[in-house]
Symmetry: C2
Subunit: 311 residues, 2 copies
């Protein structure tokens, strides 16, 4: 079933202990879409400038991604430059040029209105809400956000949260949003804000999902359910940019492929997310995920299972 | 099969967001012994002062722990005071009074010489080595250490590492010992120093074990094996003091109970370690583990399995 993702398509420059890239294709929507494309058809809504040409487009279309919702406008695409020299778990942003992204006004192509799954990547919650409102019949909505929206656009974000099936954020964002340092208490506070479930990403330590009683239609859990997916310890984290979006793409793509949300499909989806997140770190930008195969993904889920399951 | 533990028996004072204790029974050997006592007979070698009386002794003996190796000498017992107000994952040490521990010279009672499992808790590596040398027929030796010994007594520590079956340390210690920030590379570097296997504890994020080809006699793994145990996210971490030692006690106790080290018994032992580590955090000092039952431990291992295993 089709996933529609709305978010950034960008060019990134980054330096890590493994090396340097001046300019590679990036953006949350790009990383999400590539990861999800191994599981289900993906449609994108984004905006790019004149520097986004056939070479960039083909990275997406060669994975079968529907790019009709990527609007091309005069000017330059969103550009971000960062470094992970101090800490591989946290980028130091050196430069952010919003460029054409500054006036991004998401437009839903008519062909996209039957999308059943919607991923709201990290953008202004006002835009997230606007896209969500145009898809009244959507079956499941997941969303991401970041510290800036939590701190400075909280009311707008809270409206988005009330419409989310799943919020995917990292540890720092969960603490900031909830005001709680304790993970379980943070999760309780966030679920009380509206999302029916929550995934908190712990970077190199995996991710934890919290379900409320409302998470599974037809199969209500008597108590909040907690589930943790591990990560694969990599001998070299070449570039963590996009790992969280790749996790989200693997997770949501796998759920859409299953077509039904149950504890079993949810847990398996978290392992697919962990697999895609790990692959994303193995090379710069989209390099590794571009060249992936479904067989490699299945093998990695097997590794993650062996890594974490009792015999 | 009997586990012998050598290490500190102390009094601790601590303040955490949940409250304050001026003086409770603590020390690495105490936490380890209590946790391991649910699985196998435990013997202790330690030194205490005149402030360690029948009440403290009975905390240990009521769990069936053999305390004949605890030497009573004039003076006061080791005292430590710390606070976890800034960060629950890391204590700020406010006071350390070594007292009688300063001249600790471990003495092995004749009745202990048939001990088959040995745990060298965090003490001077010279003392660890001395105890190890008195048990030439021991089947398995696990050890802990800390930043001070890694930085300032490295050569002594390296001699101990060469004799270890398993080194149990935390993330920061692994980085310091190996000079590597990457977990997998740190593990490779540490295994090259001699220990046949390594467990790195990640606090609230669980623990990762690395086996080398030499880890399992008779069942050599073709490649290094990695295994991760999760933690249970607790709604309240009352006091993390001793959680790492409780993990070690649950892990090593379970392995000793199994009587054979295989990938299967090892992995199960890690889950027992995770269970005991979580229990230790639920109340101050030894309060929670003192009152535990084996049934509660089994239930928690079940929770950890549900929390982390695909259906």
């Amino acid at each position: 079933m089709s996933i529609l993702v709305v978010g950034s398509v960008a060019f990134d420059g980054m330096e890590t202990p493994s090396g340097k890239r001046d300019r590679v294709l990036g953006g949350a929507a790009t990383h999400f879409a590539l990861a999800a494309s191994f599981f289900t058809p993906v449609r994108m809504i984004a905006v790019v400038g004149e520097d986004f040409g056939p070479a960039e487009e083909s990275v997406l279309t060669s994975r079968g991604i529907d790019t009709r919702g990527i609007e091309h406008v005069p000017g330059k695409s969103f550009f971000w430059r960062g470094a992970y020299l101090r800490d591989l778990n946290q980028a130091d942003t050196l430069l952010t040029e919003l460029n054409v992204f500054e006036s991004f006004a998401p437009k839903l192509p008519a062909a996209y209105t039957d999308s059943e799954y919607l991923f709201l990547a990290n953008i202004d919650p006002v835009l997230q809400e606007r896209v969500r409102a145009q898809l009244p019949g959507v079956r499941m909505v997941c969303g991401d956000t970041m510290n800036y929206w939590i701190s400075s656009h909280r009311d707008n974000l809270l409206r988005v949260l009330r419409g989310l099936d799943t919020l995917l954020i990292n540890d720092g964002e969960a603490r900031l949003l909830s005001g709680q340092a304790n993970l379980r208490r943070a999760a309780e506070a966030i679920l009380a804000l509206g999302p029916r479930s929550l995934i908190v990403k712990h970077g190199e330590y995996g991710a934890t999902a919290f379900f409320s009683e409302r998470s599974f239609a037809g199969a209500p859990a008597p108590h909040p359910v907690v589930f943790r997916a591990p990560t694969l310890p990599l001998a070299e984290v070449v570039d963590p940019t996009g790992a969280g979006d790749s996790f989200a793409g693997g997770f949501f793509g796998s759920l859409a492929e299953a077509g039904v949300v149950t504890p079993a499909t949810w847990k398996r989806a978290m392992f697919y997310g962990a697999a895609l997140g790990a692959f994303a770190c193995e090379r710069f930008g989209t390099e590794r995920v571009q060249s992936l195969t479904r067989e490699e993904i299945e093998a990695r889920v097997g590794e993650l299972r062996t890594l974490s399951h009792l015999e």
